[in-house]
């Protein structure tokens, strides 16, 4: 998953026009890339949609509005709607603390943020079973107070937060590191409060990176399988998220319905890609505009 983290902030806009490689090298590199892309991305994607519509559009839509499927979609959206905002708050504060201040144990904190990338999602799920399960550390207390964490919605949300929490922070840290603290220092010198500086100086300069982090975080939150599977209990119409629902349908030989649900997730991936490209395009345009304005001023 770590590969997902882009380095939007560090991107250089320098384009090298003087390509020195011979034509055949260029062509074969392009071919290899395209074949790879087609085999591993385009073909599976087409297969998902083909299988989803294999029994006609009617079956496709019927399988999405079926109560259990609909509930799974709602639960997935709910888990994302809770975990993404929390991760934005956490990500921005963590990145802020790490890049704008100097303190002991900074490196350790960065490593800790990366932990969910390093830990297998199954282990992440089991951690919560160990903590909140009936035989776990807090289990008896939770049972006495009639609180349900695992095998219920809170557990699913917790697991989703755990696996997605590096996304926003990881996106912002390189960006904010590059930007340094000079603007904030200038703002503070000119008499702005810390809060004003944050809203008027820091946020505008990180907004693209932040949006990008949110998109990735959201995509993972909706697609998470492993950790959620461990804490879900797989109760239909209650604790099944969309990815789990897909597996259930597939195991019940309802291949068309299962791929219909899968196509929703694939569609989400496509939307994510489009939004991401739009953002990057907008970001480059903003930069160029700023560069032109700076050039005119001098």
């Amino acid at each position: 998953m770590a590969g997902n983290v882009s380095t939007l902030g560090r991107r250089t806009t320098r384009i090298n026009h003087a390509v020195t490689e011979p034509l055949w090298v260029q062509l074969s590199l392009i071919t290899v890339a395209l074949v790879f892309l087609a085999l591993f991305l385009v073909v599976p994607l087409v297969a998902v949609f083909k299988e989803a519509f294999s029994k006609g559009a009617e079956v496709y839509f019927a399988s999405l509005v079926e109560p259990d499927a609909w509930h799974a979609i709602k639960l997935t959206l709910l888990a994302a709607a809770i975990s993404v905002p929390l991760n934005v708050i956490f990500g921005v504060s963590a990145a802020w603390a790490i890049t704008k201040f100097r303190f002991r144990g900074k490196q350790a904190l960065i490593t800790l943020i990366d932990l969910p990338f390093a830990v297998s999602p199954v282990v992440a799920g089991l951690i919560y079973v160990l903590l909140f399960g009936a035989q776990g550390w807090l289990g008896p207390w939770l049972a006495d107070n009639d609180l349900k964490i695992i095998f219920a919605v809170p557990g699913i949300v917790l697991a989703t937060i755990f696996v997605t929490f590096p996304f926003v922070a990881r996106e912002l840290i390189p960006l904010m590191e590059e930007q340094g603290t000079s603007y904030e220092e200038a703002s503070l010198t000119l008499g702005a409060s810390g809060w004003q500086t944050f809203w008027r100086v820091t946020i505008p300069s990180i907004k693209w990176g932040l949006l990008y982090g949110i998109i990735l975080c959201n995509a993972r939150a909706m697609g998470e399988f492993g950790a959620v599977s461990v804490v879900s209990g797989h109760i239909r119409g209650q604790t099944n998220t969309l990815p789990l629902h897909i597996e259930i349908l597939y195991n019940e030989y309802q291949f068309a319905a299962s791929f219909a649900a899968a196509s929703i997730l694939a569609g989400l991936a496509l939307v994510t890609l489009v939004v991401k490209s739009l953002l990057e395009w907008q970001h480059t345009r903003d930069r160029e505009k700023a560069a032109r304005a700076a050039a005119q001023q001098s």
Binding site: V129, F132, G133, A134, Q135, G136, G139, A143, K148, I150, F151, G233, H234, I235, R236, G237, Q238, I248, Y250, N251, E252, Y253
Partner: protein, 329 residues
């Protein structure tokens, strides 16, 4: 204000009476059975008790499901693949009394099944019985006995056959070791193996629950597979029980017990038969006699001294299965 509070509490009470929820935690191959059975029971309960009952289902590998219930999955009833997994609810968490299996008739197993051999159409490898499975060049599909209840039945059925035919436990052990050399993939659950064999078309013969074998025919179309009934197989008794601690907490004991009793009724037995489980009720069983071939069935208690013993000897870490199964040899 008082009237409002009163009205509110009255309405919650009447709501509690008019609707009740049950959670049935079950194993993989019963999905279709309980979809149908739950509807029938809901109708029955509405008619007799004038109460709406909503039954939720959770399915997965039998051992894994038991683990989830131990970890707090609030099952009102469990309907698992084998008594050993339900025993764990007593041993690990005291969720049920030790004598749970004697609370309902027939060892608490309202329906039975057995293990059969599923082969590809026309039986190209000419598989007739268990001893054909150890022949070189025959690929056998069965799930992992460490994680799958069905796979343990498969293993024990093969063992019982070999012991009877060759006369000793040593010979049986050799036979089973030879059999697992012919297994190219060990899926973690029965459903995974079914997909491997039927959908991905790997292997020549698939050791399967009888009900699952019929289901494959139904789902993938008759005429793609043949079912071979071996000379000897094992009587699989998938048991059911109310989870006492949970029903007491949820206040669902009455409906949960009625739910399980309904499995033994004519209607419940009929649904079991229709979904390819062997009914216990002699009358219903007679009706389905044509579907289920007569086969010599050994029982786990007579042959292996019960699940606890079989589990310890064969499937626990360091048991016989660990000793004979070495992947890639």
């Amino acid at each position: 204000m008082l009237a409002l509070t009163l009205g509110l509490s009255v309405s919650t009470v009447s709501l509690a009476q008019s609707e009740v929820k049950l959670l049935n935690v079950s194993y993989d191959p019963t999905r279709e059975l309980y979809t149908e059975f739950n509807k029938a029971f809901a109708d029955h309960w509405q008619k007799t008790e004038k109460q709406k009952v909503t039954i939720s289902q959770s399915h997965g590998g039998s051992g894994k499901q038991a683990r989830s219930v131990i970890d707090g999955l609030a099952a009102d009833v469990v309907t698992l693949a084998l008594a050993y997994d339900i025993d764990a609810l007593y041993e690990e968490a005291k969720l049920i009394p030790e004598n749970w299996q004697s609370r309902l008739p027939n060892n608490s197993a309202p329906y039975t099944s057995t293990i059969v051999l599923v082969v590809r159409k026309g039986n190209p490898k000419n598989i007739k019985d268990w001893d054909d499975l150890v022949k070189p060049g025959v690929q056998v599909i069965t799930p992992n006995p460490k994680t799958s209840g069905g796979a343990r039945w498969n293993y024990l059925a093969a063992w019982a056959f070999a012991k009877k035919k060759y006369g000793s436990d040593e010979k049986a052990r050799e036979f089973v070791a030879q059999l697992y050399k012919n297994v190219p993939v060990l899926d973690s659950g029965a459903r995974g193996s079914t997909t491997t064999f039927a959908q991905r078309e790997i292997g020549d013969v698939f050791l399967s629950w009888e009900n699952e074998a019929f289901l494959i025919e139904k789902e993938f179309g008759a005429g793609k597979f043949d079912i071979v009934v071996p000379s000897l197989s094992i009587l699989a008794e998938p048991p059911v029980t109310v989870v006492d601690k949970n029903v007491e907490k949820n206040g669902t004991r009455k409906v949960a017990e009625a739910y399980l009793k309904f499995l033994y009724s004519k209607e419940g037995q009929e649904i079991a038969g229709k979904n390819f489980y062997r009914p216990r009720d002699p009358e219903v069983a007679a009706k389905y006699a044509k579907v289920f071939p007569q086969v010599e069935l050994i029982t786990i208690d007579a042959e292996f001294g019960g699940w606890q013993k079989a589990q310890k000897e064969h499937f626990n870490d360091g048991g016989v299965f660990d000793a004979i199964y070495k992947p890639g040899t």
